[in-house]
């Protein structure tokens, strides 16, 4: 049994690499979307804000798996082909991006009114004030929740296994299917592996929060 467990490890390692690849790609996109939407929401008038808010509420309200399935299975129906990796990354990016926009918007809003007022009194335009005064301060407050967001993306990447992405969980499932006796050790390995990844990230987020807030 030990032999077959060991023989499964290379596949698991490859799966882990895919997990990180998917997670990192999704994270980069999510940060970009988050900043774009969060800053936009902080600047634009109500009328323009509402559609952005609607999009965010949509991305947060729909189960991630439904979104992934829609992008992978549903879009081709409407003529748009995507790879499973692409659909997974896109869905994760949309979901995490919506959370990211709230992080950005919340951090900007948490910078005291006095800063905005002082900037305005000096004659700075709203965009300038944002760029020079508010954002530099807000960035520090955004870091801990964004670190936490990455952990959430890694956790959610397991859903990609359900649309055929061969990330860590899928590698585990494949090997369990080959040899059912490996079920216990492999799923234990899965739990330990994800814990080993996410627990330090979670701790880092908490420590950053204490130091930066």
């Amino acid at each position: 049994m030990n032999a077959s467990y060991a023989s499964a490890l290379p596949a698991l390692a490859r799966g882990l690499v895919t997990t990180f690849g998917v997670a990192l790609a999704a994270m980069l996109l999510a940060v970009a979307i988050g900043f774009a939407a969060g800053i936009a929401r902080s600047l634009v008038p109500r009328a323009v804000d509402l559609p952005i808010l609607a999009a965010i509420e949509f991305a947060r309200g729909i189960p991630l798996l439904v979104l992934m399935y829609f992008l992978f299975f549903g879009l081709p129906q409407l003529g748009w082909r995507t790879s499973s990796d692409g659909a997974a990354i896109a869905a994760l990016a949309i979901y995490a991006g919506s959370l990211g926009s709230e992080i950005v918007r919340g951090a900007i809003a948490s910078i005291a009114r006095g800063q905005h007022e002082a900037a305005a009194a000096l004659g700075l335009g709203r965009l300038q004030a944002l760029r020079l005064i508010v954002l530099p301060q807000a960035l520090r407050r955004m870091l801990p929740p964004f670190v936490g967001l990455f952990a959430l993306i890694v956790e959610s990447s397991t859903l990609a296994s359900l649309i055929g992405v061969t990330e860590l969980l899928q590698s585990i499932r494949n090997n369990v299917e080959r040899d059912n006796a490996l079920s216990l050790p492999l799923y234990l390995t899965a739990l330990v592996a994800y814990f080993a990844i996410n627990y330090p990230i979670s701790l880092a987020s908490q420590r950053l929060e204490k130091r930066l807030a």
Binding site: E57, F58, R60, G61, I62, P63, L64, L65, V66, L67, Y69, F70, F73, G74, L75, Q77, L78, A151, E155, S156, T158, L159, S161, L162, L169, R173, V176, N180, A181, S183, L184, L186, Y187, L188, A190, L191, Y194, F195, N198, Y199, S202
Partner: protein, 216 residues
């Protein structure tokens, strides 16, 4: 797609049942775990912390798979642990979202001003009464937004049960698609159902938060 309606209805009912059972279970786990985390016994605190950190930092999908596929393979007691898919899936959600609740409540208790505990103690209230009448009610009010988010998370995570063959709304929808080719519209419909439910839950919790704010 009309013919699929009864199947989807049954699926939706199952989704709601799992969500309700899961929320109740997760609340119990959260309350018990938070109580243990502030216990005077170091052993209890350590056990509760270990449980919390492990189950909230591992993906719920992996937990569900473990409960369903790996538990029965434990040498000796394995066969006794062969759980029906619905049970394994709901349990997985209870453990994961329950661990998150423990963390939320722990943070909430920490956010109650220390003067409150002092005042309760000065009045002669026992530690249990201090928790029950002074600290926990305030901790829950403080934690309400996060607790509400967790309930919504759990509701959305019910879709994971379909991965082990449970026919919740999502599972039923996939089943229908396997038989008839109506992907895009069906997903959109199912998506809208989830969105509406999430919206209702959100409104419910915002109303609760308003009520709690008055009494604060």
């Amino acid at each position: 797609m009309r013919d699929a309606a009864p199947q989807l209805e049954r699926g939706f009912l199952l989704t709601v049942e799992i969500a309700v059972a899961g929320t109740v279970g997760a609340s119990l786990v959260g309350a018990l775990g938070a109580a243990l985390r502030i216990s005077e016994s170091r052993g209890a605190r350590f056990a509760a912390t270990a449980f919390t950190e492990f189950f909230r930092n591992t993906p719920p999908l992996v937990q569900i798979y473990f409960l369903f596929f790996a538990l029965p393979e434990i040498p000796g007691i394995g066969p006794a642990l062969r759980l029906p898919s619905v049970v394994a899936a709901t349990l997985g959600l209870v453990l994961h979202q329950g661990a998150i609740n423990i963390e939320i409540l722990r943070a909430g208790l920490g956010a109650v001003p220390s003067g409150q505990r002092e005042a309760g103690a000065a009045l002669g209230l026992s530690r249990f009464d201090q928790l029950r009448y002074v600290l926990v009610p305030q901790a829950v009010r403080i934690s309400l937004p996060a607790l509400g988010n967790n309930v919504i998370s759990l509701f959305k995570n019910t879709v994971l049960v379909s991965s082990i063959g449970v026919l919740d709304l999502f599972g039923a929808a996939n089943d229908v698609i396997a038989q008839i080719e109506v992907s895009a519209e069906l997903f959109i419909t199912v998506g809208i159902v989830y969105l509406v439910c999430v919206g209702l839950l959100g409104a419910l919790f915002r109303a609760l938060e308003k009520r709690a704010a008055v009494a604060r």
